[in-house]
C-alpha cells in the first residue's frame, strides 16, 4: 500500500531536481501569500464581484494584460535558464531532458500564452472605444474566452511540477510527439492546454469580427476606422480561417495518443507529415495574427506622436489585407526540407517573398508619417521607433530563409532562432509594450514613470541586439537549434557568451518595467484630461478610466481621426451640434458562469492528461450543464437609468 502511494507520487510529482523543488516551494508560498492578502484585507468578495464575474471588455482587457505579463515573466525565466546553460561548452547546469522541456514550454508559452493574450488585451481595451461602441458584440462569450485562456495557461504551467512538461518542441511534431516516442503525460498537457485556449481564441476572433463589422458608431465607415481597429479586423479574419486546422491537428494527435488511432504514426498507414502541414497551416498565419495588431499599435502611436495624419491610409489598409490573404499561402516554408519538389517549394518561396512588399509599404508609410512631423519621443514612440530597424533586419533575414535552396543550410540552425526572435520580440513584444504604454493612462487613469521606462527601454533594446545578432553568426557556423550543449572546439563559445550576456541585459530591462509599474501605481501622475497624448481617435474623447458604459452618447463620426476632427472644430469655434438628451442604456449582467465553466474545462483537461476518464466525464457533464443553464437564462441584461448615467458623468466633471 505504502509502496503504491510512493510509486504513484514519484510519477505524479516531478522529483529529484533542485530547480523544480525551488519552483514547488515558490508556488506554494505565492499561493499562500495571495490567500492571506485577500483574506486579511477582506477582498474575496471584491475579487469575485469586480473581476472574476465581470463581462466588461475593459476589465477583461486588463486581466489579459496582467496574465500576459506574468507569462512573459515565466517564459523569460525559461529563456534565462536556457541561455545560462548555453553560455559555455559542456555546462553542467541543465540536463538534456530538462532543456527539452524548457525550450518547449518557453516557445509554447511565449506564442500562445504571452503574445496571444497580449494582443487580446489591447484589442479588448481599445477596439470598442475606437469604434464608438458600448461593448463587444458578445460580452458573456468574451468572458468565457478569457477564462478558457487563463485556465489553459494554468494547466500548461502545472505540468512542470505535476507529471512533467511537454518536451517535443512548441511545434510538437509527430511521430516524436506520438505515444511510441513520448510516453509521459507532458505532451497531453500541451495538446489539451492548446485545445482549450484555442476554443477561446476562436470565440474572440468571431466576437471582434462581428463587433467591428456591425457595431461601429454612425458615420464610421470602414475607410474611416482607426488603423489599429483595421489591424484587429485583419487578425480576426486570420483567426477565423487559421484556427480550425490547428483544432483538427491537435485532436487527431490526441486521438493517436489516447485512443490508439493511426493518423500520424509510422505504422499502419499513418502519415506524420500530415501533422506538420496542418500545424503550419495554422502556424504561419498565427505569426501574422500576433504581428498585425502590433503594426496597428505602431500606426496609432506614430500618428499621435508625430501630430500628423497617417501617411497613405488606404495603402496601409490594403497591405493589411494583402498580408492576411498571402499569409495562408506560405506555410511550406517551415519545411522546405520535406522535399516536396522544386515546383511546390518555388511556389511557397515566392509567396513568402511577396509578403515583404506590403510589409515594406507599411514601414515606408510609418517613416513618411514621421517625416516633418512634430515628433515627441514619449515611451510608446520610443518603442515604435526602435521597432523599425529591428523589423527591417528581421524581415531581411526572413527573405533569406525564404530562398528554398539556401534554407537547406539555414533550416533549424541558430540563424532561424535569431530571425524569429527578431520579428517576434522586435515586432510583437515591442508593439505590445508600446500599446501598453500608450493605453495605460486610458486603462487606469494615471501615467507611468518615464525615467524608469527609459532605463528599461535601453536595457531591453541593447540587450536584444547583443543577445540575438551573434546568433546569426552562430547559425552560419553550424550551431543547430534545440541542442542543450556543445563541445569546446567548435568555435562557438565566444558568441554564446556574448549572447547570454545580452539575455541578462534584457532580463534587467524586464525588471525595470516591473519596477516602473510598481513605482507608478504609488507615485504615478494622475491624468484628469482623459487625453494625455493629444490623441486622434475616439478612445481619447472619454474620461479615464472609462465609465463602464463607455459612451454616454454615441458619437457621430464625420471623418478619419474622429476625435482630432472634433477637437479642431471646437478650436475653430465652429458650431457644436446640439447635445442629444441622454437615453437609458442596456448593459449585460455580470456572470460567474464563464469562470466556473472554465474551471470545469481545466478539470476536464487534467483528467484527460492522466487518462482519468471518470474525472474527465464528470467535468464534461458539468460543462454541458452550464451550457444548458445558460440556454435557459432569459434575464441576461439590465438597464441603466438616465439618472445613473448623469451622476456618473457628473462625477467625471462632464455633464
Amino acid at each position: 500500500m505504502l509502496y503504491n502511494v510512493e510509486n504513484f507520487a514519484s510519477h505524479f510529482f516531478v522529483l529529484g531536481d533542485p530547480l523544480i523543488y525551488g519552483a514547488d516551494v515558490s508556488i506554494v508560498l505565492v499561493s499562500l501569500a495571495i490567500v492571506f492578502v485577500l483574506t486579511y484585507y477582506k477582498k474575496w468578495g471584491w475579487l469575485w464581484r469586480e473581476w472574476l464575474t465581470t463581462v466588461d471588455h475593459k476589465k477583461i482587457g486588463i486581466m489579459y494584460m496582467i496574465a500576459a505579463l506574468l507569462m512573459l515573466f515565466r517564459g523569460g525565466v525559461d529563456a534565462i535558464l536556457m541561455r545560462t546553460q548555453l553560455i559555455m561548452p559542456n555546462m553542467p547546469f541543465l540536463k538534456a531532458q530538462h532543456y527539452n522541456e524548457i525550450f518547449t514550454t518557453h516557445g509554447t508559452i511565449m506564442i500562445l500564452f504571452m503574445a496571444m493574450p497580449f494582443i487580446f488585451a489591447m484589442m479588448n481595451i481599445a477596439v470598442p472605444l475606437q469604434i464608438g461602441a458600448r461593448d463587444v458584440a458578445f460580452p458573456y462569450l468574451n468572458a468565457i474566452s478569457f477564462w478558457l485562456f487563463f485556465f489553459a495557461a494554468m494547466l500548461l504551467n502545472l505540468s512542470f511540477v505535476i507529471g512533467g512538461s511537454p518536451d517535443a518542441g512548441w511545434t510538437s511534431y509527430a511521430p516524436l510527439a506520438g505515444l511510441t516516442f513520448d510516453k509521459g503525460p507532458g505532451e497531453n498537457y500541451y495538446l489539451l492546454a492548446l485545445q482549450i485556449t484555442g476554443i477561446g481564441s476562436m470565440a474572440t476572433g468571431i466576437n471582434f469580427f462581428v463587433t467591428i463589422m456591425k457595431m461601429r458608431a454612425p458615420g464610421m465607415t470602414l475607410m474611416r476606422m482607426p488603423l489599429f481597429t483595421w489591424s484587429i479586423l485583419a487578425a480576426c479574419i486570420i483567426i477565423i480561417f487559421a484556427f480550425p486546422p490547428l483544432t483538427a491537428a491537435l485532436t487527431l494527435l490526441l486521438m493517436d495518443r489516447l485512443a490508439g488511432a493511426h493518423f500520424f504514426t509510422i505504422f499502419d498507414g499513418g502519415n506524420p507529415m500530415m501533422y506538420v502541414n496542418m500545424f503550419w497551416m495554422w502556424g504561419h498565419p498565427e505569426v501574422y495574427i500576433v504581428v498585425l495588431p502590433a503594426f496597428g499599435v505602431f500606426s496609432e502611436v506614430v500618428a499621435t506622436f508625430s501630430k500628423k495624419r497617417t501617411f497613405g491610409y488606404a495603402s496601409m489598409v490594403a497591405s493589411l489585407i494583402a498580408i492576411a490573404v498571402i499569409s495562408f499561402f506560405t506555410w511550406v516554408h517551415h519545411f522546405f526540407t520535406m522535399g516536396a519538389g522544386p515546383g511546390v517549394n518555388s511556389f511557397f518561396a515566392v509567396a513568402t517573398m511577396i509578403i515583404a512588399i506590403p510589409t515594406g509599404v507599411k514601414v515606408f508609410n510609418w517613416l513618411f508619417t514621421m517625416y516633418q512631423g512634430r515628433i515627441r519621443t514619449k515611451l510608446p514612440m520610443l518603442w515604435a521607433i526602435a521597432f523599425i530597424p529591428n523589423f527591417a533586419i528581421g524581415g531581411a533575414s526572413g527573405v533569406m530563409l525564404a530562398v528554398a535552396p539556401a534554407d537547406y543550410q539555414f533550416h533549424n540552425s541558430y540563424f532561424l532562432v535569431a530571425h524569429f526572435h527578431q520579428v517576434l520580440i522586435g515586432g510583437v513584444v515591442f508593439g505590445m509594450l508600446a500599446g501598453m504604454y500608450y493605453w495605460w493612462p486610458k486603462m487606469f487613469g494615471f501615467m507611468l514613470n518615464e525615467r524608469l521606462g527609459r532605463i528599461a527601454f535601453w536595457f531591453f533594446n541593447i540587450g536584444f541586439y547583443v543577445c540575438f545578432l551573434p546568433q546569426y553568426w552562430l547559425g552560419w557556423m553550424g550551431m543547430t537549434r534545440r541542442i542543450y550543449t556543445y563541445l569546446p572546439g567548435m568555435g562557438w563559445t565566444f558568441w554564446n557568451i556574448i549572447s547570454t550576456f545580452g539575455a541578462y541585459l534584457m532580463g534587467v530591462g524586464f525588471v525595470f518595467i516591473v519596477l516602473q509599474i510598481l513605482y507608478s501605481i504609488r507615485y504615478g501622475e494622475r491624468d484628469l484630461t482623459g487625453d494625455p497624448w493629444d490623441g486622434r481617435t475616439l478612445e481619447w474623447s472619454l474620461p479615464s478610466p472609462v465609465p463602464h458604459y463607455n459612451f454616454a452618447r454615441i458619437p457621430e463620426v464625420t471623418g478619419r481621426d474622429a476625435w482630432w476632427t472634433m477637437k479642431e472644430a471646437k478650436q475653430k469655434g465652429e458650431m457644436q451640434p446640439e447635445l442629444e438628451p441622454l437615453k437609458p442604456i442596456h448593459m449585460p449582467n455580470d456572470s460567474g458562469r464563464p469562470f466556473i465553466l472554465s474551471v470545469l474545462f481545466f478539470i476536464f483537461g487534467f483528467g484527460m492528461v492522466f487518462t482519468w476518464y471518470p474525472m474527465a466525464a464528470v467535468a464534461f457533464i458539468g460543462i454541458l450543464l452550464s451550457l444548458i443553464l445558460r440556454s435557459f437564462e432569459y434575464d441576461t441584461d439590465h438597464t441603466l437609468s438616465v439618472d445613473e448615467i448623469r451622476r456618473t458623468e457628473a462625477a467625471y466633471g462632464r455633464v
Binding site: I206, P244, T247, N271
Partner: protein, 208 residues
C-alpha cells in the same frame, strides 16, 4: 444575412422577421454564421486528412469491404428529409404558427435520432468485423470524420430539444425565434456536410 434580406423582400413590406427584430438577436445570428464558417473549416481539415489517408488501409479492410450501400443511402435519405422538415418548422415560425412549428421540430428530432441509430449500428457492425479506429489510418480517418459529424448531429438533437422546451415555456418571442432560427441553421449546415461525406467518403469509396 442573405436569407433574411430575401425574406424581407419577398414580403414586399418593411416587416422584419421575428428573429431579427432586436439588434442583439441579429448580431447573434450573424455571429453564428461566422461560427459555421469555422466549423466548416474544421470539417474541411478532416476531409483533407481523410483524402490523404483513405488508401492507407494497412492490414485492415478497405472501403469496399465495410461500406453498406443500403445503410448509408438510408442515412442520407433520412438526414435530407430532416433538413426539409426543419425548413418547414422555420416556415411555420415565420407565419406565426407555433404549434405547427413545434410539430415539425419534433419530426426533425425524431428523424435525427433515427439517423444516429443507423449510424451507430453501422459503426457497431464495422467494429464487430474487426474494423476499428485502431486498425489502420484509413479507418482512423473514417471513424473520426463520420463520427465528428455524428457527434454534431447528436449535439443538435439535444439542443433542438432544449429550444423546444423553451418555446413551450415562453411562446414565440423574438428571443425564442432567434434561438430556433440559429439551431435550424446548424441543422442545415450538418446536412450540407453530410452531402460531402456521402460523395467523398461513401460514393467514392464504393466506386474505387
Amino acid at each position: 444575412m442573405a436569407m433574411a434580406d430575401s425574406f424581407v423582400k419577398s414580403q414586399g413590406s418593411q416587416s422584419v422577421p421575428l428573429e431579427y427584430t432586436h439588434e442583439e438577436d441579429a448580431l447573434r445570428i450573424f455571429g453564428f454564421w461566422i461560427f459555421l464558417a469555422t466549423d466548416l473549416l474544421l470539417f474541411a481539415s478532416l476531409f483533407a486528412t481523410y483524402s490523404v489517408l483513405y488508401r492507407h488501409v494497412g492490414h485492415g479492410p478497405g472501403p469496399l469491404q465495410i461500406f453498406d450501400i443500403t445503410g448509408f443511402s438510408a442515412e442520407t435519405f433520412i438526414l435530407l428529409t430532416s433538413s426539409f422538415t426543419c425548413g418547414l418548422a422555420t416556415y411555420s415560425m415565420h407565419r406565426g404558427q407555433k404549434a405547427a412549428m413545434m410539430a415539425w421540430m419534433i419530426v426533425t428530432i425524431l428523424l435525427g435520432v433515427s439517423f444516429i441509430s443507423l449510424e451507430l449500428s453501422e459503426f457497431a457492425s464495422d467494429i464487430a468485423r474487426g474494423a476499428t479506429l485502431q486498425t489502420s489510418a484509413f479507418l482512423s480517418a473514417f471513424f473520426t470524420l463520420v463520427g465528428t459529424h455524428g457527434a454534431h448531429v447528436s449535439f443538435g438533437i439535444v439542443w433542438m430539444t432544449l429550444i423546444l422546451i423553451q418555446l413551450a415555456i415562453h411562446g414565440l418571442t423574438p428571443t425564442t425565434a432567434r434561438k430556433a432560427f440559429i439551431v435550424s441553421l446548424y441543422w442545415h449546415f450538418l446536412d450540407v456536410v453530410w452531402i460531402f461525406i456521402f460523395t467523398i467518403v461513401y460514393l467514392l469509396g464504393v466506386m474505387s
